[in-house]
């Protein structure tokens, strides 16, 4: 049986798709057969981040409607043969997804895959609800600012009450915190919430802190998940996230203000 992971946040633009692409690639690179599904029907993005947009023929909605088989729609990643992408439809909207249809697709994938990563759309409406409903684990992606934290808190409430595990009174969805776009310098100067401020409200198991990094944008534009960029801090931080999720113990990195040191020496401003 596959483990179903939902990457969710409530708020938009916090890094859900970047995270989905990175952790799916990270899991696959370690030899786990992984599928990543774009639930953002109508605003298809995951294929761009994964660099497979020119190979999309059939999509998630086609499979749900029985117009294509799962094997026809799944796209094998060009960098890792253990990773498959199920793209969203760009021409439809979230109403094209049904609870029953999503359940069928996930069940079929579960027979073959070890991990299924569901990239949730923003918001708390149907698309987001369907992305989280069947989840076993939830990666709650949060930026260090108040509105993102509150939206994440709301999402956690929905996970605890509306997921299938909640409905069936099973063991609750395991919730993890992923703090993204973290800027240690701005945290230090008080412009940005720190880890403690966020944890004060969310109190979740922390899976990792991804520092704000230029390499994320360039990786997105190039269509290569940032985790493959071993030189970038964000890439290495995602690598840590995957390792921690799989049970390894890794110390937190990239949360100290390294620029402070240079600023002291050169007296410059950034």
């Amino acid at each position: 049986m596959a483990r179903i992971i939902v990457v969710t946040s409530g708020k938009g633009g916090v890094g859900k798709t970047t995270t989905s692409a990175a952790i799916a690639m990270g899991l696959a690179k370690r030899g786990h057969k992984t599928a990543v599904i774009d639930f953002d029907v109508g605003l298809r993005n995951l294929d761009l981040i994964m660099g497979c947009e020119r190979r999309v023929v059939y999509d998630f909605v086609n499979v749900i409607n029985g117009e294509a088989s799962l094997n026809q729609a799944l796209i094998r990643d060009k960098n890792c043969n253990q990773l498959y992408i199920l793209p969203a439809s760009q021409t439809r909207d979230k109403d094209a997804l049904t609870l029953e249809g999503v359940g069928r697709v996930l069940e079929e994938l579960s027979r073959d895959f070890q991990f299924i990563v569901c990239d949730s759309p923003a918001g708390i409406e149907k698309g987001a609800y369907l992305a989280l409903y069947y989840a076993d684990d939830a990666f709650v992606v949060t930026n260090p600012e108040v509105s993102s934290v509150r939206d994440s808190d709301r999402m956690l409430g929905i996970l605890a009450s509306k997921s299938r595990r909640a409905e069936r009174n099973e063991e609750p969805v395991k919730e993890y915190l992923l703090l993204t776009r973290y800027d240690p310098g701005r945290v230090k100067s008080g412009e940005m919430l720190g880890l403690d401020d966020v944890q004060d409200i969310l109190s979740l198991q922390l899976l990792g802190i991804i520092p704000e990094s230029k390499s994320v944008l360039s990786a997105s534009n190039a269509g290569i998940p940032v985790i493959l960029d071993e030189k970038s801090e964000a890439g290495r931080a995602y690598e840590d996230v995957v390792a921690r999720y799989l049970g390894e113990d890794r110390p937190l990195r990239f949360i100290d203000d390294k620029r402070g040191f240079f600023r002291k020496i050169f007296g410059g401003r950034s």
Binding site: R150, D153, R154, G157, I158, A160, P172, I201
Partner: protein
């Protein structure tokens, strides 16, 4: 489960239903007051069955049309399922609406004493009526009469225990006391007809005594609430003074004033 030949089966069972006792025949005022109660606990009152009690009204010589009351109740999402204590005309009106009428009016005086008597006695009374009714189930009025006697013993009110965090957007309603072991997030709402205990940080809204219990209290270990209310009297976070913010406190009502006191 059932034998293949049977189409239906009669079973005697009991259920609880709230009784709406009217003290005024001002329909608009009744509706307003009900609406207020519904707004405080929409899930509790949604599609709730209800028995209309007109005894007090008729005692004070005030008349009201059952048709109008039932219409108003249905409009706001409640289901009137019985009428008791009505006069002849009100009973006729109820019949017209197919709402059963409590025929046990001759028990008026005994009903009062039975409510006051010990619960054990009332229970045996219920059992007796049960057995009588099995022979008389063709009489539809007796079913409402039974309901009355069942709702007479004090309902055991259990306290509700929450161990998971109450997240933003979640609402919890407890009919008795509410005990929360985890934090209550901003944007969450916890309500109780009795007391509220939060053994953690309270950032959301907490409303105790929502059915009018002015003796209800709120206790929490770390007060950062958006709003606290007891029996309708409330304070928002704007009105929390610095001395009690982020402190362990209790909140109670004294002469309609909300008192927030640090627990030493």
């Amino acid at each position: 489960m059932t034998t293949s030949s049977s189409v239906l089966e009669f079973k005697s069972s009991t259920f609880f239903s709230p009784i709406l006792i009217l003290y005024s025949n001002d329909l608009a005022a009744i509706e307003q007051s009900l609406q207020d109660k519904i707004n405080r606990a929409p899930d509790f009152f949604k599609n709730s069955p209800l028995i209309i009690d007109l005894r007090e009204l008729n005692k004070s010589g005030l008349d009201i049309s059952v048709i109008e009351v039932a219409g108003m109740l249905r409009k706001i999402g409640m289901f009137p399922i019985g009428v008791r204590g009505g006069n002849e005309q009100q009973d006729k009106q109820a019949h017209k609406l197919s709402i059963p009428v409590d025929a046990g009016r001759e028990n008026d005086s005994t009903a009062a004493t039975s409510a006051a008597s010990s619960r054990k006695e009332t229970e045996t009374q219920v059992l007796e009526r049960d057995s009588v009714e099995n022979n008389e189930f063709r009489n539809p009025a007796s079913s409402v009469g039974r309901m009355e006697s069942v709702s007479a013993p004090p309902e055991p009110v259990k306290s509700m225990l929450i161990t998971q965090p109450v997240r933003s957007g979640q609402r919890i309603y407890a009919r008795g006391d509410l005990i929360v072991m985890s934090q209550v997030s901003a944007g969450a709402e916890i309500m109780a007809e009795g007391n509220i205990h939060v053994y953690n940080t309270l950032r959301g809204r907490a409303l105790a005594g929502v059915q009018g219990n002015t003796a209800a209290r709120i206790f929490c270990l770390d007060l950062q609430a958006e709003l606290i209310s007891i029996s309708g009297d409330y304070k928002t976070s704007e009105h929390l003074t610095e001395q009690i913010k982020k402190r362990p406190v209790q909140v109670y009502l004294q002469d309609h004033a909300l008192i927030i006191k640090e627990i030493a």
